[in-house]
Amino acid sequence: MSRIARILVRRLAGIVPVAVIVVGGTFLLLEAAPGDAVDAYLASTGGDRALVEELRRAWGLDAGPLARLWLYISALAHLDLGWSVAFSRPVIEVIGQRIANTLLLMGCSVALAVFVGSLLGVVAGSRPGSAADRALSLGSLALYAVPGFWLGLVLIVVFSVELRWLPGGGFETIASGLTGLARAGDIGRHLALPVAALGSIYLALYLRLMRAGMVEAWRQDFVRAALARGLPRRQIVWKHVARNALLPVITMVGLQAATLLGGSVVVESVFAIPGLGRLAHEAVVQRDTPLLLGVILTGAGLVILANLAVDLLYGWIDPRVGAGAETMA
């Protein structure tokens, strides 16, 4: 078995119990919420009390909690996430329409945060204690204290209301008739501010992580040796110090996936982007519990996938990872 395949198998074995707990948790929340699937369905279609009893029997909702749990799990296994009252459609369809927008927003935000954050981190960490380092460290701390939704509002005030450079909301111009590159450009203009709002906050985290890793690396013997050999400082900074500080940054991308998805709820709401986060807010406002739990399950699935991707990337970058897995497993 190849090394990458071993990493994959070991991670998948760990995912199963976690997924079972998450599904059990959402089932408990669903049970705790007032009303059930029949109430939800009839709220959008209408029907009398006799129909309620009949549907409850037909859907197995009059059985005990364990039977209901089994019903819930087998429905999930068929990708049936229940019925959304708010949209009068199956939950899975509503989520399917929204998920791409959120993935685009998150992908761009992560790219911005990791790229700019680690670049600034290299600037700060190349000379720890310097004026640039002090300014960047304090600035990142201040940025980290800013709530995403408020940063979004401030960006709207500056760039949309005052300067009129960028649109202040929406995913693209409605009924613009644009296709191809022109449409991509239009979406890009709409996403610039939300990506800036979501990305800037997490940028601070990568800056601090990169800087801390570099401060640590400067103390290592191999860096002292490189300094003693008289290598150019630029070469030491990039090839010896920054390179070793990069691995924790990659780990953090996986760990931050859940936080970022949570942050997209408020940012999507501020910028009126029809994505998963805003869907969660709409579900809460319309008291649509199955839809909200569907979004949560989808979010948990995305987090698991993101971490799996990070693990594989890690295994690819660092040849030590997974090499001794045969004996450990």
Binding site: V18, A33, L141, L153, V157, G262, H281, L292
Partner: protein
């Protein structure tokens, strides 16, 4: 180099302590600084800040005093953040200690539970808990703590695992001390302090989550809250942006104060090791 950096961090910590003290004073003295109900109407709506001495920070869309709302909002923020941090630390420490001390399948099960909580986006979980339990201070505290306990749990477990192998624990076992007594008197006093260092991160996160929930309209509508104030200002963002910007600034200053104080404490704790 490290000594100089340490001094900077200590100074940052002092700035943080000053900001936090101001924040605590605002929260404690709000009923004296601005007596009466902050949600009552005091003047004409949308007075700009710094134009009227009676309402220094202006009024909102309904003519309520923004300064009074911010002062009273700091009470909500502080109470919710501290309660949530306390709950998260207590639950996290209990789970982490149980997992580390019991070992075996209890450890395995508790760690899978912790992982499951870390897999679900914390803010989505908070939304779900508040929407199922209804918006009250207690449900908001529970919702924030539900997303924050896994961090301390993992840390305490790791500490317990390293401490339980040390000689003095062996000695306690050898003299026939009860396992619960060993846990309570020998292991936990050493395992908890590192988790307490997480307090600043948890409190800062709790302040931001509380504000975000209130911003989305999931706070308690009968108490002043910074997040709700920002949402209120959002409706008139184009004509009166100050209404969102002023409470948001208070939020940033409070969270920054918590972060700076946390850095200062961390610098103080780690100082003897580095020098």
């Amino acid at each position: 180099m490290s000594a100089a950096a340490g001094d900077f961090r200590l100074r940052d910590g002092r700035i943080g302590a000053v900001l936090l003290t101001g924040f605590a004073f605002a929260a404690l003295l709000a009923p004296f600084l601005s007596p009466g109900d902050p949600l009552s109407i005091v003047g004409t709506p949308l007075v700009r800040p710094f134009t009227d001495a009676a309402v220094p920070l202006g009024t909102d869309r309904l003519g309520r005093d923004v300064l009074a709302l911010i002062l009273h909002g700091s009470r909500t923020t502080l109470a919710v953040a501290l309660a949530a941090a306390f709950c998260a630390l207590a639950v996290g420490a209990a789970v982490g200690a149980a997992a580390g001390l019991a070992g075996g399948w209890i450890d395995e099960g508790l760690m899978r539970l912790t992982e499951a909580f870390q897999t679900v986006p914390g803010f989505l979980l908070a939304l779900a808990i508040v929407s199922v339990a209804g918006p009250s201070i207690a449900s908001i505290v529970a919702a924030i703590a539900a997303g924050a306990w896994p961090g301390p749990a993992r840390l305490v477990r790791a500490e317990v695992l390293s401490i339980r192998e040390r000689d003095f624990v062996m000695a306690a076992r050898a003299i026939g001390m009860h396992p619960f007594e060993i846990a309570w008197r020998e292991v936990l006093p050493l395992a908890l302090p590192p988790a307490v260092a997480l307090v600043s991160v948890i409190v800062a996160g709790a302040i931001l989550t509380e504000a975000a929930l209130a911003f989305l309209g999931l706070g308690n509508p009968n108490v002043a809250s910074w997040g709700a104030l920002i949402a209120e200002g959002r409706a008139v963002l184009r004509t009166a942006p100050f209404l969102s910007i002023v409470p948001g600034t208070a939020l940033v200053v409070a969270v920054l104060g918590v972060h700076l104080a946390g850095e200062g404490i961390a610098a103080r704790l780690s100082a003897p090791v580095h020098r």
